[in-house]
């Protein structure tokens, strides 16, 4: 057996047999499911109905709100226009009102726009404020139209609503919301790469520090080249990581199925809807779902998967070489923080760029540039691929990534070679630079 495969095997076995690996592997999916289930349970609980007092001196709006009492179960509106307003304001707390909506008497509607008050003890939710404002604005508009003797019905009829039918030049029909699916898929893979790099890069680093602190490294590199040891370590650890992800995928999926069965998560429409409507909705739902599924299949799935594997390998090796070099440079994990920051930053940056820039403009300059820079390309390019990226861009990005990877491995191996034999003090950036020249 060649020496490097010997090292790979040892690293793999050491990682997999480790108690924390076993615990992590089997506990985290459980935790994940438990947390998801808990959140699902919490959000399925009906909140208490909140009482809203209405004191409407204009008499314009109160009926609009009272009418809502039949539909809306979160809020209950009480018409207290006859009660003295000062008394109402004073008794909000005592009477357990969530809020008091006070519409004063004004000369005209224009003045009313800014005079309405919402009094509450705790600041009410933004969605409540917005929906309440919306109701009042609608009613006020309608009232304005009536005062101007305009036919509100005619206006309502005349109001046009435009929905674009989206399609690509190649002729395929396209769906609204597909961008979200694309970014979702790209994002999921990109996020996976980032997680993997951070978790397993750290493992590589810890493993290097361990060999250094228990001094076995001197015996090992009297038998093998530091470069072989470093590569063996990176590859062996990544295999352990892949195994862990595989187990997670299997356990996670089966547990999710079990959990959704157990909690009986409502997927279908609620019971209050009439059977006919339900039927229609269902048909519409299945129709849309089918469209979506068709669209997903129309995505460049092969490119996405190949891209994932290529960028995964490139990105992980690139970053774990950095991690290995850092591990070699320091004596313990606390000392590593200073050097880790510049590594985490580009990772975070690429995820943010992916979620904020790529989704808005997948082929814009920012997205293009960051999908070329090797430190960010594994994540950013992967998020772009579902939107269709010209092959030459991918070619440039991949060659840049692997070119940098070899450069970084060379650089990391130098730091590693010197660092593993240096004990005692934490090196400065300047010293690391000096090591390159040894």
């Amino acid at each position: 057996m060649s020496i490097i495969s010997l090292i790979i095997k040892r690293e793999f076995v050491a990682k997999v047999r480790n108690k924390s690996f076993i615990v992590m592997t089997f506990l985290s999916p459980l935790l994940f499911v438990a947390i998801t289930g808990f959140i699902a349970y919490l959000s399925s609980m009906k909140p208490d109905t909140k009482l809203i007092a209405i004191h409407d001196e204009s008499g314009l709006f109160v009926n609009e709100f009272i009418a809502l009492n039949n539909k809306n179960s979160d809020y209950k509106y009480l018409d207290l226009s006859k009660v003295d307003i000062q008394f109402l304001k004073d008794s909000i707390v005592k009477e357990n009102f969530e809020a008091l909506l006070y519409v004063p008497k004004t000369v005209n509607n224009r003045e009313l726009e800014t005079k309405i008050q919402l009094v509450s003890n705790e600041s009410p939710s933004i969605s409540f404020i917005e929906s309440t404002q919306g109701i009042i604005a609608d009613k006020l508009t309608k009232n304005n139209l009536e005062l101007a003797h305009l036919d509100t019905l005619a206006i309502k009829k005349a109001k046009a609503e435009v929905v674009f039918k989206l399609s690509k030049a190649s002729g395929e029909e396209s769906l609204r919301g597909l961008n979200e699916i694309k970014i979702g898929i790209g994002g999921a893979f990109g996020y996976l790469i980032m997680m993997f790099i951070i978790i397993y890069g750290n493992m590589v680093m810890r493993s290097v520090i361990e060999e250094k602190t228990n001094r076995i490294v001197e015996i090992i590199i009297s038998s093998v080249k530091p470069f072989q040891l470093m590569m063996g370590k990176i590859i062996g650890t990544s295999l352990a990581g892949l195994l862990q992800f595989l187990i997670w995928a299997v356990i996670g999926l089966s547990l999710m199925f079990a959990a959704s069965a157990f909690f009986g998560v409502n997927i279908g429409p609620t019971a209050r809807v009439s059977p006919e409507m339900m039927h229609a909705a269902q048909q519409e739902l299945t129709g849309t779902a089918q469209m979506y599924i068709k669209e997903i299949w129309n995505l460049p799935i092969a490119s996405i998967l190949i891209g994932f594997v290529v960028y995964f390998i490139g990105g992980y090796f690139l970053y774990s070489s950095f991690y290995a070099a850092i591990g070699a440079a320091v004596d313990n994990q606390t000392d590593s923080q200073q050097f880790l920051l510049p590594i985490i930053m580009p990772l975070m940056l690429s995820v943010y760029i992916g979620f904020f820039t790529v989704i808005n403009n997948p082929h814009g300059t920012v997205a293009l540039v960051f999908s070329m820079i090797p430190l960010t390309s594994p994540i950013v390019m992967l998020m772009r691929i579902p939107f269709g990226v010209p092959w030459w861009q991918i070619a440039i990005s991949v060659s840049l990534l692997f070119g940098t990877f070899f450069g970084v491995v060379w650089f990391a191996a130098k730091i590693y070679r010197v660092g593993i034999l240096m004990y005692g003090k934490k090196p400065s950036w300047g010293e690391l630079y000096k090591w390159l020249k040894y």
């Binding site: 010997l6 040892r10 480790n18 001197e218």
Partner: protein, 306 residues
């Protein structure tokens, strides 16, 4: 005697610091070669170069007639001063792994391990983890790892540290047995009594330079002062002192004896010991007459402080 290892004008620099300054050594086959020097002299740098852990900036190392190259790792066994093993790995697996790295097949490594575990009486340790062993026990494992692949050249850096006297003796006997089997041993230590006891050749490195090298006996000859330790029973001490101070340099001596004699250390320079004896026998009864041989300790201190 042909040499197993030749170091030719090796220079190693770390930045501006010169760790080895044109150091040359010749280690004869079958010898136990003591590599001495104060802390920071450059011993570890040299040992690391021989182990190909680091490369010299210039100069070359010849192992058994060939320029040192990666395949030679299987002919060298190294016991570093800073001991270390994977603390959470089982003893047996660990030894197998390290032996395979030195080029042994798994079956061969297993065979050798059985032999050594049996020989050192540690058969029961196969499935223990290093962290369950005491320091001395771990040292034994480390020793086994170092000699397992039957290297031609063994490099021991402070091999006895951490051992109790009984186990130190066991290891000492093993080292001697390895020498009997034809291995050459480079032995780096600060314990001068072990050097006296085991080494037939020594080299002394100080401040990155080699100052002394050769057969131990030759080095001692080189450092002898032509002094004799003398014990004499005399009635006329004043006469005795008068006679000998006229001819020789005299100082007090200190050695163990049963009589209440006068103890002197006398430097005779170019004169013959017989002349001194002649003077002494005329003035009293000689009870002790021994040439003072410089100890490695003395040589070390004298060279390093000069």
């Amino acid at each position: 005697m042909s040499s197993i290892l030749e170091v030719n004008k090796v220079i190693k620099q770390y930045g501006d610091y010169v760790a080895l300054n044109e150091v040359s050594l010749t280690v004869p086959k079958g010898s136990i070669y003591g590599l001495l020097g104060p802390n920071g002299a450059g011993k570890t740098s040299l040992i690391r170069i021989i182990n190909q852990i680091t490369m010299p900036d210039s100069g070359e190392v010849i192992l058994d007639g060939e320029k040192l190259q990666p395949k030679h790792v299987q002919h060298i066994g190294y016991l570093p001063e800073e001991r270390g093993l994977y603390s959470s790995m089982k003893v047996g697996e660990q030894c197998l792994y390290l032996a395979q790295m030195k080029g042994l097949s798994k079956a061969e490594a297993k065979k050798q391990l059985d032999y050594w575990f049996d020989r050192l009486g540690i058969q029961g340790w196969w499935n223990k983890k290093i962290q369950e062993l005491s320091k001395g026990m771990a040292q034994k494992i480390q020793f086994v790892v170092c000699v397992l692949h039957k290297p031609k050249l063994l490099i021991f850096d402070e091999p006895f540290s951490g051992f109790d006297p009984v186990n130190a003796n066991v290891i000492k006997d093993e080292i001697l047995a390895l020498k009997e089997d034809g291995a050459t041993i480079i032995f780096s230590t600060h314990r001068m009594e072990s050097v006296e006891e085991l080494c037939d050749h020594i080299a002394l490195i100080h401040k990155s330079n080699k100052l002394i090298e050769g057969k131990l006996i030759d080095v001692k000859r080189q450092f002898k002062t032509n002094s004799f330790q003398v014990g004499i029973l005399s009635d006329n001490v004043e006469g005795l002192m008068f006679d000998i101070t006229q001819k020789f340099k005299v100082g007090p001596a200190n050695f163990k004896s049963l009589n209440d004699e006068i103890k002197l250390e006398i430097q005779i320079g170019n004169a013959s010991p017989n002349e001194l004896l002649h003077v002494l026998t005329q003035r009293g009864q000689v009870t002790h007459f021994v040439e003072k041989i410089p100890s490695v300790h003395d040589i070390f201190i004298q060279t390093v402080t000069d």
